[in-house]
Symmetry: C2
Subunit: 252 residues, 2 copies
C-alpha cells in the first residue's frame, strides 16, 4: 500500500493492472444492469455470468454486494462533482451568478444523462443498504464544497446578498459543516451554508420530480420550467436580479 503510493506515478505491476481492469469491468456491468433494469436490480451472479466467471470469483474484488454499491456511489459522487466543477470553471471567476447557473444546469444535464447514478445517490438507497459515511463522505464533500464555495464567493463579492434572504442570520452550526469545510466554516457564517443548502434542496427536488416523478407529464416543456425554477431559487438566495437575467442570457 504505502510503498506503491509513495513514488509518484505508482508503477502498477502487471497483476495490479489486470486487477484494476477487472474491477472497472465489474462496475461497468453493474452500472449497465442498474440502468437497464431499474434501481436495486443488481445481481452479482448475473455480472459473473456476463464475465464468464464463477460467481464466487467476484468476491476477490468486492467483499460483498454492499461494497459494490458503495464503490458505485463513490464513482457517482465523483462523476457529478466533476461535471459541476467543470461547468463552474467554464465561467470566469467573477461571474458568480453565471457560475451558480452553470452548476445547476450541469447538475440537471448530468442527472438526465445518468439517471441510474442519480437514483443511486439522491434517491432512496437500495434495499437494506446504508452508504457508509466514511467512504462516501469525501466524495459527497467535494460536491457540497463546490456549491458552497461558489455561493460564498458570490456573497463576498456582493453579487448575492444573504441579508436579503429569508434565512436568519444566526443559525446553529452543524458538525458536518465544521467537519467538511473546516476553514470555510470558520470565516463564513453558517447562514451561507443554510442558504446554499436550501437552494440546492430546491434544485434537487425539481430533478427528483422530473426524473422519478411525473413532472414531465404535467408540464412537458421542462427546459423552460427549469430555467424559471432556477431564477426563482436564485432570487431566493439574494442574487442580483440583473445578474440572474445575464446568467440566463449568456448560456453557452
Amino acid at each position: 500500500m504505502n510503498s506503491s503510493a509513495s513514488s509518484g506515478p505508482a508503477p502498477l505491476s502487471r497483476r495490479q493492472e489486470y486487477r484494476q481492469a477487472t474491477i472497472e469491468e465489474i462496475k461497468g456491468l453493474a452500472r449497465c444492469q442498474l440502468a437497464e433494469h431499474g434501481p436495486g436490480a443488481l445481481s452479482l451472479r448475473a455480472i459473473a455470468r456476463d464475465m464468464r466467471m464463477a460467481s464466487s470469483a467476484l468476491y476477490r474484488y468486492f467483499a460483498s454486494y454492499d461494497d459494490l454499491i458503495t464503490a458505485l456511489c463513490v464513482d457517482a459522487y465523483n462523476s457529478v462533482a466533476d461535471a459541476l466543477t467543470q461547468a463552474r470553471d467554464a465561467r470566469p471567476a467573477d461571474d458568480h451568478a453565471g457560475r451558480w447557473w452553470a452548476i445547476c444546469h450541469a447538475h440537471r444535464r448530468w442527472a438526465l444523462d445518468n439517471p441510474a447514478d442519480f437514483a443511486l445517490i439522491f434517491g432512496t438507497p437500495v434495499p437494506g443498504y446504508q452508504a457508509p459515511a466514511r467512504v462516501t463522505g469525501p466524495a459527497a464533500g467535494r460536491l457540497a464544497a463546490a456549491l458552497f464555495d461558489v455561493y460564498a464567493a458570490a456573497a463576498h463579492a456582493r453579487a448575492a446578498r444573504p441579508d436579503r434572504t429569508q434565512v436568519p442570520e444566526k443559525l446553529e452550526v452543524g458538525e458536518l459543516l465544521t467537519e467538511l469545510l473546516p476553514e470555510a466554516g470558520a470565516h463564513h457564517p453558517p447562514r451561507l451554508a443554510g442558504i446554499a443548502a436550501t437552494a440546492w434542496a430546491s434544485v434537487l427536488g425539481y430533478l427528483v420530480a422530473e426524473i422519478f416523478g411525473s413532472l414531465t407529464r404535467l408540464i412537458p416543456d421542462t427546459d423552460q420550467l427549469y430555467d424559471a425554477h432556477l431564477r426563482t431559487v436564485m432570487l431566493g438566495m439574494g442574487f442580483d436580479p440583473d445578474l440572474i437575467q445575464a446568467a440566463g442570457r449568456d448560456e453557452a
Copy 2:
C-alpha cells in the same frame, strides 16, 4: 362486487370481514418491516412467519410482491393526502397563504412521522418496481389537487400574484394536467400548475434532504430552516410578503 357495494353500508359477510382484517394485518406487518429494516427490505416469507402461516397463503390476499407494494403506496398517498387536506381545512378558506403554509408544514410533519411511507412514494421505488399509474394515479391525484386548488384559489383572490413569478405565462399543457384536473385545467392557466409544481418540488427537495440526506448534520435547527425555506418558496410563488409573515405568526 356490485351487489356488495350497491346498498350503502355494505354489510360485509363474516368471511369478507375476516379477509379484510387479514389484509390489514399483512399490510401492517409489511409497513413494520419497511420501517425497521429500511426501504425495499420486505420479505413475504417473513410476514408469513410472523402470522404463523405458510408463505403460499399470502398469495390468497396479494397476487404478488409488487401488488403488496402497490397497496402500500396507495395507502401512503391517501394518508398524506388526508393529512394535507385536514391541515388545509383547519384554516379559513380565505386565508390562502395560511393554507399553503399549513399544508407544507403538515407535509413535513407527515414525512418525519412516516419516513417509510415517505420513502415509498417519494424516493426511488423498490428494486425493479414501477408503480402502476392507473392504481396509484387517483390517490396521487388527490394530493396534487389539494396543492393546486389552494394555490389556484390564492391566485384567484390575488393573495398570490402569478404574474410576479419567474414562471412564464405561456406554458404547454401536459396530459396529466388535463387528465387529473379536467375542470380546473380548463379555466386555470397551466402557469398556475407550473408555479405550484416547482414550489412543491422545492418543498419536496427539502424533505428529501432532511430525511434521506444529511441536512440535519449540516444545519441542526431544521425547524427554523424549514420556515425560512418555506417563506422563500412562497415569495417565489408571488405570495404577498405580509401574508407570508402572517401565516408564519398564526401558526396554531
